[in-house]
């Protein structure tokens, strides 16, 4: 992971506002270099009072072209890095950007409160919903409190409690998933990490209210799936979703050696592969250069998707909704059956 930080304007080169220090990923270095040049020429222009419009235009065109090229051909491992970008919007950022109202609800009513999963009543595009999401934490203090988005059983149980509330009062459930996985620790195991996730899978499959899940960043294994049984599952363009992280997979199958990039590729964990497999129904496009370049644009796409999908799902009768939800997951898997060929969608 690169550590370079460049000072830059926002990528639309708006002259005011959102100027920030952006973390530069290894593969973004040529982009950062161009940004730096643009910044310097702009500085010279205003300092010397000369017009470098032509040069700036060329530089900006080059930058946009390079951005388009880079982000049009991300490798799986680069995508994972984008999904983990420190400035990628987190659950709380989305709440601020897309909800008109958010009343957070705490506690699983059994043992405790797990801030790695946050739940609340929310209003979004005119809909009353139960909004649930994993939160990684924005600053160090919050990150530690949220265990970097790695949830304990209490988080999953709180989520289920809130989903049951939503069912009771006819609120659709929307979950935003961004977690490397469920927390692997002594307390989590003692208090039934596996049971809490399993319970959610079972109960979400028969929850009598519409559910929409969106993988917004990392979709790490059972910890992600425990919030992602839904009528419609979507993922942001540069999110990843897999049974294991590239690091975990590389550690087990390649033993030693640094093969994360190969593992990421082998796991087919990006939206490009998951959509045709039917694992996600929709890929929500991100702004050019990823959500971290323009969180508002990313939030807008997300909001549009949720609003539209809510409208569609609210029209369905509950029985039809549940039947389709069952079939949606029932169809996933690829097997060869000699008596009759059976496989999931479009897996040739």
């Amino acid at each position: 992971m690169a550590t370079t930080i460049v000072e830059s304007q926002t990528d639309t080169f708006a002259s005011a506002g959102a100027s920030n220090l952006r973390h530069v990923l290894e593969f973004e270095k040529p982009l950062a270099h161009l940004e730096q040049q643009i910044h310097e020429v702009e500085g010279l222009q205003s300092k010397n009072g000369v017009d470098y419009a032509a040069e700036l235009r060329d530089l900006r065109n080059n930058y946009t072209a390079l951005l388009r090229k880079t982000y049009g051909h991300l490798s799986a491992w680069e995508t994972v890095q984008v999904a983990r970008h420190p400035q990628r919007p987190l659950f709380r950022d989305y709440v601020e950007m897309i909800c008109r109202d958010f009343r957070e609800l705490h506690g699983d009513r059994h043992f405790g409160e797990d801030p790695a999963i946050q739940c609340g009543l929310a209003r979004l595009a005119g809909h009353k919903i139960m909004l649930i999401g994993t939160h990684k934490g924005r600053d160090t203090k919050e990150k530690i409190k949220c265990c970097f988005g790695l949830a304990h059983p209490e988080g999953y149980r709180k989520a289920l409690r809130c989903m049951k509330l939503a069912e009771k009062f006819g609120l659709p459930v929307v979950t935003l998933v961004d977690t490397a996985g469920a927390y692997p620790g002594i307390g989590a195991e003692e208090r039934g990490q596996a049971e809490s996730i399993a319970r959610n899978l079972m109960e979400m499959s028969r929850l009598r209210t519409p559910i929409i899940s969106i993988i917004t960043g990392e979709g790490g294994s059972g910890g992600a799936l425990g919030l992602a049984i839904a009528d419609k599952v979507a993922m942001l363009e540069f999110a990843w979703y897999s049974v294991i992280s590239p690091e975990g997979c590389s550690g087990i199958l390649w033993k030693g050696g640094n093969n994360v990039a190969e593992a990421a590729e082998a796991l087919k964990l990006t939206s490009k592969y998951l959509k045709p497999m039917g694992i996600v129904d929709t890929v929500i496009p991100e702004p050019l250069g990823g959500a971290h370049r323009d969180p508002r644009a990313a939030a807008y796409s997300l909001e549009q998707y949720i609003a539209k999908t809510l409208r569609d799902l609210k029209r369905c009768k509950t029985e039809n909704l549940l039947a389709r939800r069952y079939e949606r997951f029932r169809d996933l898997g690829v097997v060869i059956e000699s008596s009759r060929k059976q496989s999931s969608r479009s897996m040739a």
Binding site: A182, P184, G185, I186, A188, E189, E190, R191, G192, Q193, A194, E195, I197, A198, R199, L201, M202, E203, S205, R206, S221, G222, L225, G226, I229, Y241, S242, V243, I244, G248, C249, I252, L253, W254, E262, A263, A266, L267, K268, L269, Y273, L274, M277, I279, R325, Y326, F329, R330, L332, G333, V334, V335, I336, E337, S338, S339, S343, S344, M347
Partner: protein, 277 residues
């Protein structure tokens, strides 16, 4: 049966059963006469260690003689994402298939236990650590659906290293699929007995294994979401004694009871009788 997997085991006990007349118990190190071990249901006569057993051995131990009728046996794995690490998934499958004589890591069917009819799905630890990919998910789901339709009790014997990496996100989806099928069995009032054998970990534990009306386990079975090695690496601390063993889960409230292999048939029959409507 050749070498059983022991990757999920933190103590590096070898569960392997070497060929030959004699074998060593990994737990008490006693030299055991193989035939005697087999006659005692693959349990060490000296210390009671429960050896890992293949699905077929398990079925022959559990079911009344000649009552087991295998279902869905022509379902085979594909290579949906063309997975390749140091070895291709295709080659790995082939060598596991010729090693075990099975197509994948679960055997399903109908049978009788002490005269009670039921549907069984038995995972096989000798095939790719009993890992769950599309075939395991599909066959277990069909077994659940079969039990629901035929109104028969369902027994799933879990024994697995978790979801199968080589089918990536599709393996993950098997957790969803099996759990959803169990919700329907539950809605229909069906009985599901979940028996956990050593080891039951990862995505298998975090789906059907933990959703039984009754959850029972063999003594000392490792039952975990995250494996002990992953946890030790994360927290950089030694793990408590007996952590994630069946007895530990019983104490923490996640198992109904721990049960010796020799008593399984009678206890399963007893549960079925209590739940008969």
């Amino acid at each position: 049966m050749s070498q059983a997997p022991n990757d999920a085991n933190p103590n590096h006990r070898t569960h392997g059963v070497p060929e030959g007349l004699w074998m060593r118990c990994p737990e008490c190190s006693a030299m055991l006469f193989r035939k005697a071990v087999e006659e005692s249901l693959h349990v060490c006569p000296e210390c009671g260690h429960h050896f890992r057993i293949s699905a077929h051995v398990r079925i022959s131990q559990l079911c009344d003689p000649d009552t087991f009728e295998e279902l869905f046996q022509d379902i085979e794995p594909g290579d949906p994402i063309h997975f390749h690490d140091k070895k291709s998934y295709k080659d790995r499958l082939q060598s596991e298939q010729s090693k075990t004589g099975n197509k994948d890591a679960v055997v399903c069917g109908k049978g009788f236990i002490k005269g009670r009819p039921l549907v069984l799905a038995v995972m096989d630890p000798t095939f790719m650590m009993g890992s769950m990919g599309s075939v395991v998910g599909e066959k277990i789901t069909r077994a659940i659906e079969q039990a629901t339709e035929a109104k028969l009790p369902l027994l799933i014997v879990s024994c697995s290293g978790g979801a199968r990496m080589q089918e990536s996100t599709l393996s993950l989806m098997q957790m969803a699929k099996t759990s959803a099928a169990l919700a329907r069995l539950d809605d229909a009032g069906g009985l599901f007995i979940s028996l956990l054998a050593d080891p039951t970990t990862g995505g298998v534990t975090a789906s059907f294994a933990m959703l039984g009306d009754f959850i029972i386990a063999e003594p000392r079975a490792l039952i975990a979401f995250a494996g002990p090695r992953t946890i030790a690496n994360t927290i950089k601390m030694a793990l408590p004694d007996g952590f994630q063993r069946a007895e530990f889960l019983e104490e923490k409230g996640f198992l109904d009871f721990v049960i010796h292999r020799k008593d399984l048939r009678s206890e399963i029959a007893r549960l079925i009788d209590f739940c008969a409507k």
